[in-house]
C-alpha cells in the first residue's frame, strides 16, 4: 500500500510532469487562460492517460516483451496513442455530444501532448506492474491537472494586473510558470525519480 501511495505522490507532486519534468507545456500554456477550460482539460488528460497507460502496459507485457521487441516501444506507443485518442473522440462525439462540444479541439491536442507518450514509456522503463502503472498514470494526470488549475487561477487574476506591454501574454506566463516550478523544487529529492 505504501509503495502505491509513494508512486502516486511522486508522479503528482514531487516529480510533477509539468513543473518538474517540463513535459506537456504546449497544453499548459494554451489552455490555462480560463479556469473552466483547464478543469475540463485536466479531467480529459487524467482519463485518457489512465486508459492509454493500461493499453500500453498490455501491449508491452503481452506483445513486445515476449517477442523481445522492447526497442520498438516508442513507435508502437505513438501508433497506439494516436489510434486510441481518435477512437475516444468518435465514441465521445456519439455518446456525449455536450462533452464533445466543451472539449472541442482540446481532445486532439491531448493526443499530441508529450506527456501521453512520456508516462507509458516511463512506466515501462521503471518496469512497473499493472497496478503501479495505473497508479502512476493517475498520479501524473492528477498532477498535470493540479498544475493546470493552479496556473489558470493565477492567469485569471493577472488579467487585471498592470503587466508591462512587452511581457503581456506569454512573457509573464513563462515567468510565473518558472516561479511555480521554483516552488515545486522544494519537493526535490523526497521521492527519488
Amino acid at each position: 500500500m505504501n509503495e502505491y501511495v509513494l508512486v502516486f505522490l511522486g508522479a503528482a507532486v514531487v516529480n510533477n510532469y509539468v513543473l518538474t519534468r517540463f513535459l506537456g507545456l504546449c497544453i499548459f500554456f494554451g489552455v490555462s487562460k480560463s479556469l473552466s477550460a483547464s478543469a475540463s482539460m485536466g479531467v480529459a488528460v487524467v482519463s485518457v492517460m489512465t486508459i492509454t497507460s493500461v493499453i500500453a502496459w498490455a501491449v508491452d507485457a503481452w506483445i513486445l516483451v515476449p517477442l523481445g521487441l522492447e526497442f520498438m516501444r516508442t513507435i508502437v506507443y505513438v501508433v497506439l496513442i494516436a489510434c486510441f485518442v481518435q477512437l475516444l473522440e468518435i465514441v465521445v462525439k456519439r455518446a456525449m455530444p455536450t462533452l464533445y462540444g466543451a472539449w472541442g479541439i482540446y481532445l486532439l491536442l491531448v493526443a499530441t501532448n508529450c506527456i501521453m507518450l512520456g508516462v507509458p514509456l516511463l512506466n515501462a522503463e521503471a518496469r512497473y506492474g499493472f497496478a503501479k502503472s495505473v497508479v502512476n498514470a493517475l498520479g501524473s494526470g492528477a498532477g498535470f491537472a493540479f498544475a493546470l488549475v493552479l496556473m489558470a487561477g493565477i492567469r485569471e487574476k493577472m488579467q487585471y494586473a498592470d503587466v508591462p506591454r512587452s511581457l503581456q501574454g506569454l512573457g509573464i506566463t513563462f515567468i510565473v510558470t518558472g516561479l511555480l516550478a521554483l516552488a515545486f523544487q522544494g519537493f526535490s529529492g523526497m521521492i527519488p525519480l
Partner: protein
Amino acid sequence: MTPIYIVAVVAAVGLVFGLLLSVASKYLAVETDPRVEEVADVLPKGQCGACGYAGCQGYAEAVVKNPDVPPNLCVPGKDAVAAAVAGLTGKAVARTEPRVASVRCAGTCDKAVHVYEYKGIQGCVSANMLHGGDKACKYGCLGFGTCVKSCPFGAMKLSPEGLPIVNAEKCTGCGKCQVVCPRGIIAMITPEAKVRVNCSSRDKGGDTRKFCSAGCVGCGACARNCPHGAIRIENNLAWVDASICVAACESPTCYAKCPTSAIKPVVFGVLPGTEDSEAPLPTRFDLKSVEQQERDEAASADRAARAAGRRGAGS
C-alpha cells in the same frame, strides 16, 4: 530477429488498431449536415455572441437545423454574410441594420471631477464597486478600458485623456462592450446619426455642472432648437430620437445652443467633445515624443520637396 519479423509485428499491431478505428467510425458515426460547416465557414468567427448563440458554430447549427432561425442574425457580418447564409440555407434574405458603438460620456480627466485616487484592480467593474467609482459623476465613464479589452474585433482604444475611442470602420456593432460596461453608457447608434449626446448623467443641472464641465444639464436648449422635435429631455438628460433625426434633418442646428457642448455632431473615431478637430488623436501607445514628431515632419517635408523637385525636372 530479422527486420522483416519486426516490421511484421509492428504492422500487425497497427492493423489491429486500424481495423478497430474503421469499425468504430462506421458504426459509431454521427450524422452531421455538411451545410453546418459551409455556414460556419462564411461567418466572421469573432465568437462575439451578438446573434444570441454561443459562438459562430452555435449559430451555424441553429440556422441550418431550425427553420425558424433567421439568416440575418450575424451583426458583424452585416448584409454580405446574411445574404450568404440565406443562400446556403435556402431562407429569405433580410437586411441587417448596421450599428456602431458610441460611448455616451465626454468627461475626460480635465473636465470631470475625481473624488479619490483609485489604486485597485485596473478594471471598470472593480472600480465601480468601490463607492461608485472615482469620479464625482456616478453616471460617467470610468476610463479603465474594460470595454476596450472586451472588443473581439479590436475596434476600441483608450485615449490618453481617459475615454475609449471607437474605430467605426472596425466596429461591427456586436454589442459586447455594451454588455461589459458596468455603467451601461455605451449605446449602439446607426452610423448615419447626425448628432449625439455625449453624456449619461441623470443628475440635476446644478450637480452636473459641479461634477463635470462637459455634462448635459438638461436645460432643453437643444430640444427647443430642433425644428423636427427629435430631442426630448428626460431625467435631466437630452435624448435624441435617431429615426426622426436621420430622416428629417438636413443640417443640424440643435448643438449650437448647448451651454456645455454635451450634444455634438457625430464624428467617429475622435474623442467625444473634440469633434471639431480634423486629425484623430494618438492613443497612449502611439504617443510620439516631441523630437520624434519633429523628425517625422522633417522627413515628410523632405519627401515632399524631393517629389516636387522630380516633378519639376520631369515636366
